[in-house]
Symmetry: C2
Subunit: 409 residues, 2 copies
């Protein structure tokens, strides 16, 4: 039997999905599992998108242009302009989700062995795409004490080597929900410009900002127009994760041409998903207002609730629909598995993503978990109750840690 490749062996399993077998076993025992592990919203996709699918008038489901339907790309350009992002349709390549945009971008920009600096904790699958492209992830640590703000410019400068070729940010951030300020983005622009790096900006959560905060796109930064790559997706915007429609966007013509060759090799992004996504461009503002308001309430229930549990620290995110919480535990992988294997409260347990998968060095996230607040409010309240109870019962609490008490609730 031939051996599989080094990449095949070393590719990390998804921290978001690796506990699925334990969750299935828990469900098999009759326990209800509250899924805070994955950013799969329960919000309805826009009617206008679903109606376009239901009124499909084609008889042959053909390939589209490798860069996506031109009409959809033109519609996207208009959508971006409404968000202050000035791009043409021929700066856009429609992709199989944001995932493919990241993979193509990494392969087209970076040599195997090149280094990309990523503020951590970061979206776990960045490790996977980097592994696939042979790219070395160099983490720059943001801390829970600072609410996961951008590390100071000196922290970046200290990491720059001859192999540094890019910086990758997620804004608003998955997993932290952190929203970068104008000053922080200016800091990034300065580093990118000084060292002539690519700046990958994953902005798939731009619609989800709270407390009056406003998202600023990396595409608006002056002086690095050819350096910026925008990674986008309809997955979260329209609660349409399964459409698998994203976008790779750059004003850099040479890079665009290179990524288009990767796109041609896989022929076409999905036709059905593009039909739904093009129709979704007509989603009324009221949909987004309602969704953002709902997420804000969910955030408040989850984050405020977590912060009432002794020993738990959870900064309040200004964007996206995730938070990272520090828990009084020995090991988040063990705790998350224990929740599924050995715990239930009132017939419920909670599934979370251990933060170990969101750091370049897993040990850094050993006391942290990522939680997605994409479920309805009563379930989130129930999840907080479960966690409070679980932290009282969990045997793996480090010595000297104050035990959670029900009185704190």
């Amino acid at each position: 039997m031939p051996a599989i490749s080094t990449k095949g062996r070393l590719m990390p399993p998804s921290p978001i999905r690796k506990l699925v077998p334990f969750a299935e076993a828990a469900k098999g025992r009759g326990t209800k599992v509250i899924h805070l592990n994955i950013g799969q919203p329960d919000i309805a996709s826009p009617d206008v998108a679903l109606d376009a699918i239901r009124h499909l008038d084609r008889t042959v489901i053909e390939y589209s242009h490798s860069a996506g339907y031109e009409s959809y790309r033109k519609g996207l350009a208009t959508y971006y302009a409404q968000h202050g992002i000035m791009v043409d349709h021929d700066h856009i390549i429609v992709t199989n989700g944001g995932s493919e945009a990241l993979l193509f971008g990494m392969m087209a920009c970076f040599e195997p062995g090149d280094e990309v600096i990523i503020p951590e904790p970061f979206y776990a699958n960045y490790n996977s795409f980097a592994m696939a492209a042979g790219v070395t992830v160099v983490p720059v640590r943001s801390t829970i004490e600072s609410g996961f703000a951008l590390p100071p410019i000196e922290a970046f400068e200290a990491l720059i080597t001859k192999r540094t070729k890019g910086i990758l940010i997620c804004n608003p951030g998955n997993p932290t929900g952190y929203l970068y300020s104008a000053a922080e983005l200016d800091t990034l622009r300065d580093i990118v410009k000084r060292h002539d790096l690519f700046l990958f900006a994953d902005e798939v959560y731009r619609e989800f900002c709270y407390d009056g905060a406003r998202h600023i796109s990396a595409m608006t930064l002056k002086g690095i127009e050819e350096n910026v790559v925008l990674i986008d997706s309809v997955s979260k915007r329209y609660s349409m994760c399964g459409a698998r429609v994203g976008a790779f966007i750059t004003r850099n013509k040479e890079l665009y041409a290179a990524v288009l060759k990767f796109a041609q090799a896989r022929l076409s992004p999905p036709t059905f998903g593009q039909i739904a996504s093009e129709a979704a461009l007509r989603t009324p503002k009221s949909y987004f207002d309602a969704v953002a308001s709902e997420y804000k309430q969910r955030r408040d229930i989850l984050v405020n609730g977590l912060n009432t549990i002794p020993g738990v620290i959870c900064p309040t995110p200004k964007g996206a629909f995730y938070c990272v919480a520090q828990l009084p535990i020995d090991d988040s992988d063990r705790f998350c598995q224990w929740l599924l294997e050995s715990f239930a409260f009132d017939g419920y347990t909670v599934m979370m993503a251990p933060a170990t998968g969101f750091y370049a060095q897993p040990a850094t996230g050993r006391q942290q978990v990522r939680l997605a607040y994409v479920l309805e409010q009563p379930l989130l309240a129930k999840a907080v109750e479960c966690l409070r109870k679980a932290l009282m019962e969990y045997p793996g609490v480090p010595a000297g840690t104050p035990k959670a008490t029900s009185a704190a609730g």
Copy 2:
């Protein structure tokens, strides 16, 4: 401005799509372009698949399991069993088309620098996936004189080195339409077994066999069960190229687990496409019979027609819906471009894929083109007329070549 990567520079443009700007210009001048360049059938997708989409009853378009919906994978296992391919649903990972199955497979099986032997001419995008994975393609030449039969075992043995890690076949073949015999597959099995290689078998055209010929899957070969990777796709089977639903299939548990990690990183295959593909499993046999009969008639019109043009050689394919023809020309890239830029007959011209893109060394295919017979019969007859005329007019005919004459038709 930062430099793009070596892969980004060297990735080959699609030979199937690279002439698109010239085709668009021709259409702009009012010329009708007959698209023989791309395997985009004009056959209707099965009603049962389109109806499933039109009756969509979901309100949230969610991610599926990273390996695809379990119900779809179970349905696929039944479909394969009907074709003599005995696999379980947990041997199957649903992918974004056959393209993603190939890319994941190459990354999971091969180290950068490993060699994969591919009978040429071969599907052009194999070069692209190999480039993305850092794999070296080692061609073993099949010739138009032998009708593109599998080269003898000695030709393979002569190419085996310490870096040889796999063989990749397409059966029935794109671009040649060649269908491997049981004896040829036994030859492949012997080489694979002797050198413990992976055997990638791209069998996306299995439904399209003519003249009573029968497709034999590599998955039925004895003694190499852990070595075989089946690459599949619904694109051609159901004339549903835009669904972007394929499959990576292996009985090798270690390899399966590795590819599943790549699949987890990109979260999910397309939901809409899976709904259509699962419904398409109920496509009646009459659909396939009608389609195969139609393709056979199209093949006969195109291939028989081509063979009446002086200086043209085109073996009659037994499967798929492509053929490779040798033409009395100096350079197929130039000829195909000339057809779009400078030629029209009766308001029509023909777009073909230069075969240069289907060989590891482009020069080998300089006098050959790939044609897809996926259009209705009158258009194919018109295409033959156009080519006959074009070969009379084309200035780049090598000296000493007999000129085509209209009398030959």
